[in-house]
C-alpha cells in the first residue's frame, strides 16, 4: 500500500530509511505507524525513542519471522477487502479500514491479531528501551485536605501491598506546611523543591505535578518568571483554557456536527494557547498534551480528580517522567439531573450553588489513585524501578510500595515528613540536605 503521509524532518527520514520494510507491513499497521510519525512534533521523547526502536527492530527482523508475525493481520485484511480501499492519506485510511472491518464483523479479530503482533515485538523493544540499570523513579500520590478520609478504608484497594508507615505530623497543620515538610525547601535558583530540581537536572518534563487545585503549584512557584524547572498541570489554573475549549466545542455543537468522528477531528484541530501563568512549563508538546487530555478523557473537562488521574496515566504512558506527584482534592456535588452541565457556567440567577462533596471525593480518589498505580506498574519504564508513596494531608500514616519488593519485611517506626523527604532523596540519589530527616531504612534498603 502506498501512502501519502506528508512527513517532514526526522519523521520523513525515518519513513524513507525504513520504506522497504514499511511497504511489507499489513496496510493497517503501516498506516498506524505513519500516523504516529505524522504526530512527531507532538510526541514526547520516550514516544519518539519507541518509534525509532520499533522501525529499526522490524527492519532487522528475519524475513520469515516478520512474515509469520504479520500473517494473522494480513489474513483478516484480505477477508475484509482492505486492499480495495483507495484512500492514500494514512489517517483517513485508518478510519475507512476500521469502518470496513466493523461492517464485516472482523474488528474484534483484527484487534486481537494486532495485539498479538505487538506482544511478539515488545519484549525485545522493552529490553532495549528500559534496561535494568535505568535510574529509579518516584510516584507520590496525595489526598488534599478537605477530602473526608475514612481511616479504616484508606488505601484498601492495595490489599496488603507495601508497608504502612506511621507519621509524626507535629508542626504541619495545614496543606502548605505539610507539603513544604514533605518536599523540602524550595531551590531559589531553579524553581521547585531542591529534591525535584536535583533529580531531574534541567529537563522539566522529567518531573510532573498534576493536581486538582493549586497547592503544589504554589510550592514550586518562583519569584522570577523565566520558566519552571518542573512540569505542572492544575485543573483549577487551567480553568480559562477549559472554558475557552468548552466554548469552542459548544459553538461547533450549536452549528451542527456531521458525526461524532467529525466532531472529534474538529476538536483535535483546535489550537488554543493557555493564558500566561496557567502552566509552569509551556512547551508546544505539553500544550498539545493538555488539549488531548481534556478531549480524550471523558470526564476530564468536568471533574477535577478525573483530570488528575487521566493526565497522570497519560503522562506515565507517554512522557514517562522520573518523578510524578499527583494531588487529588474535593470535587463538587451533583446538581439536579447530573450537575455535569456541559458548556454551562454558573450564574447568579441559577440559584444553585456549587457544593463540595468530600465524602464522595474520598471514594473517587481511592479508586483513581489505585488506577494511577496500576497503570504505572503496567509500564516497563516503571516496573521494578519505582517507589510509590501515598499520603493524605492530616493523616498520620503513609503507604509505601516498592515495585521491586512489594511486600515489605517490617513495619517502620514513626517517621516525620522530613524523614519521608530524605527517603525520597535517597531513593532518587539526590543529596540529603544537612539537618533534614533520615531515610526510612525499611523502605530504602
Amino acid at each position: 500500500m502506498q501512502f501519502s503521509a506528508g512527513l517532514t524532518g526526522e519523521a520523513a527520514t525515518l519513513a524513507k530509511t525504513h520504506s522497504e520494510m514499511l511497504a511489507r507491513l499489513p496496510a493497517t499497521v503501516h498506516a498506524f505507524i505513519l500516523v504516529e510519525l505524522q504526530k512527531w512534533p507532538a510526541l514526547f521523547a520516550p514516544e519518539q525513542r519507541y518509534q525509532r526502536a520499533l522501525l529499526q527492530h522490524l527492519s532487522r527482523l528475519p524475513r520469515r519471522e516478520f512474515d509469520e508475525a504479520a500473517a494473522g493481520i494480513e489474513r483478516i485484511e484480505a477477508d475484509a477487502g482492505v486492499a480495495r480501499l483507495g484512500e492514500r492519506n494514512p489517517s483517513r485510511f485508518q478510519d475507512e479500514a476500521q469502518a470496513l472491518l466493523r461492517n464485516r464483523g472482523l474488528n474484534v479479530a483484527w484487534r486481537g491479531e494486532v495485539d498479538g503482533f505487538f506482544q511478539k515485538i515488545d519484549p525485545a523493544l522493552e529490553a532495549q528501551l528500559y534496561p535494568a540499570d535505568a535510574p529509579r523513579r518516584l510516584v507520590v500520590q496525595l489526598y488534599g485536605s478537605g477530602i473526608a478520609v475514612q481511616r479504616e478504608k484508606l488505601w484498601s484497594r492495595f490489599k496488603g501491598a507495601g508497608v504502612r508507615v506511621p507519621l509524626d505530623l507535629d508542626g504541619t497543620s495545614g496543606s502548605e506546611q505539610f507539603l513544604q515538610a514533605l518536599f523540602g525547601a524550595r531551590d531559589s535558583g531553579r524553581g521547585g523543591p531542591a529534591l525535584m530540581a536535583g533529580a531531574i537536572e534541567a529537563a522539566p518534563l522529567d518531573a510532573w505535578l498534576i493536581e486538582s487545585h493549586e497547592a503544589l503549584h504554589r510550592l514550586c512557584e518562583r519569584s522570577e518568571t523565566t520558566g519552571g524547572a518542573v512540569t505542572g498541570l492544575s485543573y483549577d489554573r487551567l480553568r480559562p483554557y477549559r472554558d475557552e475549549l468548552t466554548r469552542a466545542l459548544n459553538r461547533k455543537v450549536q452549528s451542527g456536527v456531521e458525526s461524532p468522528q467529525a466532531f472529534a477531528a474538529y476538536a483535535r484541530s483546535l489550537q488554543i494557547i493557555p493564558p500566561a501563568g496557567t502552566l509552569m512549563y509551556s512547551a508546544d508538546v505539553l500544550i498539545a498534551f493538555v488539549r488531548d487530555v481534556l478531549l480524550t478523557g471523558n470526564g476530564t473537562l468536568l471533574v477535577n480528580n478525573t483530570f488528575v488521574e487521566w493526565a497522570a496515566v497519560q503522562a506515565l504512558r507517554r512522557a514517562q517522567p522520573r518523578i510524578l506527584v499527583t494531588r487529588f482534592g474535593v470535587r463538587d456535588r451533583l446538581k439536579p439531573f447530573s450537575s455535569m452541565v456541559l458548556f454551562s457556567q454558573p450564574r447568579a440567577s441559577d440559584h444553585n450553588p456549587v457544593v463540595p462533596d468530600p465524602a464522595g471525593s474520598f471514594i473517587d480518589v481511592e479508586q483513581l489513585s489505585y488506577y494511577v498505580w496500576l497503570n504505572a506498574e503496567k509500564n516497563p519504564a516503571y516496573r521494578r524501578k519505582t517507589l510509590y508513596l501515598f499520603l493524605a494531608e492530616g493523616v498520620d500514616e503513609m503507604l509505601a510500595i516498592r515495585s521491586d519488593a512489594p511486600q515489605a519485611a517490617a513495619r517502620p517506626a514513626r517517621a516525620r515528613l522530613s524523614d519521608v523527604h530524605a527517603t525520597m532523596a535517597q531513593w532518587l540519589g539526590v543529596p540529603v540536605p544537612d539537618g533534614s530527616g533520615r531515610p526510612i531504612v525499611e523502605i530504602v534498603q
Binding site: R111, P260, L342, S349, D364, Q367
Partner: protein, 373 residues
Amino acid sequence: MADWWLPRRLFAQRTSESKSTRKPERRVIVVTFGGGVRYEDTLAREGWVNVPRLTSELVPQGLVYPNARHEGLTGHFNSTGALVTGSRQNVDAYGSEAPVTPTIFELFRKEHALRPEEAWVIATNKSFGLMGGSKLRSLGDPYSANVVLPKQLLISTIKAAVSTETGPGVEDRHALAERMMLALDEGYEGFGWRVFESGRALGAELKASLAKSLLAYFNDPAAPTSGDELTFFMTKEIMNRFAPSLLVVNFWDIDIAHYGAFSLYLEAVRRTDRLVHELWQHAQSLPQYRDRTTLIVVPEMGRDSDVAGNGFANHRSGDESCRRVWLVALGAGVPRGAGTERPIRTLDVAPTVAQILGFKMADCEGRPLAELT
C-alpha cells in the same frame, strides 16, 4: 396524574380496541441496568451493598442466573440491540442505524396483530431512538415499538414552556431551562451525540400532553432529579394508561461512570436498584399487571476490570469483566427463591420473552431460558 395527560385520541383507540387483536394474558417488563455494571459492584458478595433491594427483596422472590454473559460489541446500542433481537448486532454505536434483525416488538405485534401501544421502549439513553424496530421489509416501522426518550421529550417541552415570556420569575425560568436542557442533552461518552428519531413517531397529542405535566414538574418538590427517575416516572404513566404487554426500560444514569467518579457510578447503581424495586411494586399495585407479569432485570453489559481492562469508567476492553453479567427474573411463571449456575447469555432474553408472550422467534442466536417459560 390527571387524565389530561393521556391524549384523547389514544383513549378513543383504547376503548374501541378491535376484537381481531390477540392481546396475551401475560405481560413482560425487561429492565436494564443500562450503561453496564460490573459483577463485582453488584451481584458479587462485595457488591450487595450497592444493590440491597435486588439482593434482599427481589432475588428471594424469583430466580437468579449469576453466570450470564454478554457477547458481541460492548457499546450501548449494540448491547441492548442484542437483548431485544436475540442476535449480536453490529451497527453504528451512536444509534444512527436500526437493529438489523427482527426485534421482539415487531414479531410480537405482527403475530398478535397488536396496536403500537402494546410495545414500548422507554430509554434514558438518547441514542435509542431506533431501538424499537428493525428496518426489515416485512417488519419495520409498522410493527415497531413506541420509543420514548423522556429526557428528550422534556427538552422540547421546556423550550415550549419558557417561550411564552409570561408570568413571574421568567428570567430565572429561562436560566433554569437553559441549564436543564444542557444537562438533559448530555452524552457521557463524548460530545456531539445526536438524537435519531424513531420511524414510529409519537403522536403530537401525546407530546403536547407532556407539556402540561411539565408545569407540575417545575413546581413539584418531588420532581425527578435524574434522567432515570424521569424514565421511571414515564414508565409508570405508560403502564397506568396503556397497560402494555411488553415494556423495555433502559435506565442509564450508571453510565456517568465515564466521568471517572466512582462514587457517582455507585450512587447511580443504587438508584437503579431502588427504581427497579419501585417499578416492581408499581406493577404489583396495578390489576393489569399483578400476577401476570414477568420482570426480567439484566445489565446491558459489564464494565472493564481494574487489572485486565481500563477500569470501571469504560466498557471497551472486551475483557471478561466487560462481559460477565447476571440476570434476575421474578413474577409470573418464575420459581421463587431459586438460582441456577447454568451459564446463559443476554441473547437468551429475546427468545424467552417470545415464549412467555407466545410469539415465534425462530432465527435468533439466543435460546429460551427453560426455567422461565
